[in-house]
């Protein structure tokens, strides 16, 4: 969830209500709130108007700056440290499809790897 969406949610505000106050199209506010349009990709004036309509500083609706792979402005260890901090511990948990597709595990799940592959040479031999 974007910071803008969080503020709208906390204040129970609609896109239209904010758009009216900011003299913007509701679609613009929606696209920014849902993240469909990254807030870094719009004019500074648009961001200022939304912040003003919400009576918050501009920084309150900007997304935190997160590192990019290969960013040459940071050392490798600084990139990796920032990535762990920003990506592995992100705030609000969101729904994610569970990989567990059955309540009952198959027998193979508990086999040690060497036991699991014990029959593999026979299969490979048949292919050869």
């Amino acid at each position: 969830m974007t910071r803008l969406a969080t503020i709208l949610d906390e204040r129970n505000l609609t896109y239209t209500a904010v758009a009216t106050r900011a003299h913007l199209q509701p679609r613009t506010v929606r696209q920014l709130a849902t993240g469909e349009t990254p807030i870094d990709n719009v004019a500074v004036g648009t961001v200022r108007r939304i912040a003003s309509a919400l009576s918050v500083p501009v920084t309150a609706i900007l997304e935190p700056d997160v590192p990019h792979p290969g960013d040459a402005t940071l050392s490798r260890v600084a990139r990796l440290s920032a990535a762990i901090r920003e990506l592995m511990w992100s705030g609000e948990p969101v729904a994610h499809a569970s990989p567990v597709d059955s309540r009952e595990a198959d027998d193979m799940a508990t086999l040690p790897a060497d036991e699991f592959f014990a029959d593999m040479p026979a299969v490979d031999g048949r292919r050869a």
Partner: protein, 248 residues
Amino acid sequence: MAVGPEVYRAVGESDELSSGDVAFLSLARTRLVGETPPGETYDPMGRIPAYPRPALLPLPHGREVAVDTMFALVVTHSCEIDRQKNLDASADHVDCRLTVAPIVPEPAVHLVGSNGDDQAVNWAAIEANEPVASLFLPPIPDVSMLASGVDALPWPRSFADLRGLVTVSRGMVEADRLFGLAPDYLGTLQRQLARFFTWRDLARHELVEALVGRRVVDAIPLNARGDRLRVALTTDDGSSVTVELRAK
């Protein structure tokens, strides 16, 4: 149960690439515009919310590329990586790509089933590597123990999600590797890959019924346990099912 120090190993910047390397990467998913995951629980734009900072690159003809920036686990077998290197087709060979699985951290998600039901309890199953589509990655109290110079940060409980496999450049993995899997745990990764690509649960009765009248062209014994033997059957129309035979 897998425990952090037994699962991971340190990886130096100049070390050879290996299966089990964990790196900070940009992953691309191509898809039709507007494709959405099933159910109302998920992001209506079809992004995978647990993948941070999704970006969209529009393509012609109703296609798009979603780009996710996150940590991922190399699953390409080390023998294949070495083979490409030995063929002198490594660093600048455009098609020598590595297959990686996105890493989903526990703090970023709450697991849900296909009907939206909460499955937080299923972390226990993931931890035991019961699902075919995940490899559990245990927490690490201090990553700097494995990655010299990196801040002393904890690494949360997480899993590599084999449902989201993508390929990336070898150079990208080399540039931002964090640590790797220890040799013992690589065996578990390989077992999970074998299960993911070949193994499904025992066939439902109607699937077996549908094979009546077909000729079995191949039967591969999968494993035996006690009085039970599981066998993968392939029929002359290319169908395959796994059945369980009992001695008693």
